[in-house]
Symmetry: C2
Subunit: 202 residues, 2 copies
DNA sequence: CTGGTTACTGACTCGCTGGTCAGTAAGTAT
DNA sequence: ATACTTACTGACCAGCGAGTCAGTAACCAG
C-alpha cells in the first residue's frame, strides 16, 4: 500500500531535467522560466535539480548542447557519403532538412541564442563551431564537389553558402514572431534552391 | 550659486526616456534591463518615468513604436514616387536600404521582438501591419509594376517578396548572435539581388 | 534485520526590482 | 511677495524567484 515517494534514478535525471527545461524555455524563454517550474515538469524537487546543475545558467547551456549535438551530424554524414548527383542531393535531402528546421527544436535554440546569446559568449562560440561552421562547411564542400565533377560552374555562390540557408532563417524568425500569420515557407525555400541551381548550372 | 536641482521639461521627457530605454534594451534586452537604469540614463528619477509610462511593458511598446514608425515610410514613399527603372531602383535605393538595416536600430527591434514578441501579441500585430505588411506590399507592387512595363516577366517571385529580404534577415541575426564573426553581408545581399533580377528578366 | 550511504525533498532565506507615494521645489499667476 | 499648481524626487514596500540546507527515506551491503 505504501508506494515509495520517489525512486532514485541517478542516471536518468540529468536527461529528464534538460528535456523538461527545453520545453519550459521553448514556451516562455529563459528569463521568464522559473527553475521550480522546470523541476515540476521533470517531476523532481528544485533541490535535486541544483544537485545536478550548479546554476540556472549551467542548466541553460546543457539544454542548448543537448539539442544541438546530434542534429547537424546526420546531415553532414549524409553529405559525405551520398551517391546522389549534386543537384539531386540539393533538391532532395538538403531541401528536406531545411524544410523541417522551422518546426524543430533547432528553431527554439535559435530563438534562445538570439535572446540570451550576447550574455553567453562561450555558448555562442560552441554553437558556431559545432553547428554553423560545420553546416556551412558542408554546403561549401558540396558545391565545390559539384564544380569538380563538371555539374556546376564557378560563381560567387561558392563563397556564400549562406544563401542556401537565408530563406530557412527567415522562415524560422517568421514562425517565432508571427505564429499566426501564414507563410509558405516550403515554397520560399524551393524557389531559392531553384534560383541557386539555375545560377550554378548556366 | 544654487542652480536648480532639475528643470521641468514636460514636453521632452517622454522622448528622452524612450531614447534612453532603447539604448538600455539594445544592450541588455528587455528582461535584464532595470527600470531604474533607464531612468538614470535619461537623467530622471524612477518616479518620473512612472508618471509618463504606467508600466515597464508600456514603456517597451512605446520604444518599439518610436523606432519603427518613420523608418519604413521613407522607403515606401520612395517606391511610390521614383523615376528610376525597376532594375535601377532595386540595385540602388532598395539595396542601400537593406544594407544599412543590420547595423540600424531596426536590428535591435527585431531582436526584441524575437525575445519578447510571443508575450506581446498586440505589439506583434502592430509591427506586422505597419512594417512587414507594408514593406512586403511595396516590393510586390514594385515587381508587378516592372512586369506591366515589360521590364520583368512573370515568375514565382511575384508572390514571394520575402526572397528579397531573406539575406537581410540572415545578416541581422548573424550580427546579433555572432558579433565578432565577420560576414560580408553586403556581398550576400548583392548576390541575391543579382540572382533575383536574372530570374525576373530572363 | 540493521546500519550506512546518498539521492532526494521542500521549507526557508535573501537579494533584487517593479511599482508606489508622501514630500519637495520649480515654475506661474495674481 | 505670495499662494498655488504640478513636474519631479527618492525612500520605501511587496513579492518573486534563484539558490541553500537540514532533514528524510530509498536502496544496499553485510
Amino acid at each position: 500500500m505504501n508506494k515509495p515517494r520517489y525512486q532514485r534514478r541517478k542516471e536518468d535525471r540529468p536527461q529528464e531535467i534538460t528535456a523538461a527545461a527545453f520545453e519550459a524555455f521553448a514556451e516562455n524563454g529563459y528569463a521568464k522560466t522559473r527553475v521550480e517550474e522546470v523541476a515540476r515538469r521533470a517531476g523532481v524537487s528544485k533541490g535535486l535539480l541544483y544537485l545536478y546543475f550548479k546554476t540556472k545558467e549551467e542548466l541553460f547551456k546543457a539544454v542548448i548542447k543537448s539539442v544541438v549535438i546530434r542534429r547537424v551530424d546526420a546531415l553532414i554524414d549524409n553529405v559525405a557519403t551520398t551517391e546522389l548527383s549534386s543537384e539531386e542531393f540539393i533538391r532532395g535531402p538538403l531541401l528536406s532538412f531545411m524544410k523541417q528546421v522551422p518546426g524543430s527544436p533547432v528553431a527554439v535554440v535559435i530563438r534562445l541564442l538570439i535572446s540570451e546569446g550576447p550574455r553567453h559568449p562561450d555558448l555562442v562560440e560552441f554553437y558556431y563551431e559545432n553547428v554553423v561552421a560545420r553546416g556551412l562547411g558542408a554546403i561549401t564542400r558540396f558545391v565545390e564537389r559539384g564544380i569538380e565533377r563538371g555539374e556546376f560552374r564557378h560563381s560567387a555562390i561558392s563563397e556564400l553558402p549562406h544563401l542556401f540557408l537565408a530563406p530557412m532563417m527567415l522562415s524560422v524568425i517568421w514562425r517565432i514572431i508571427f505564429t499566426n500569420r501564414k507563410l509558405d515557407t516550403d515554397k520560399l525555400m524551393e524557389t531559392q534552391i531553384d534560383m541557386l541551381l539555375t545560377q550554378l548550372k548556366t
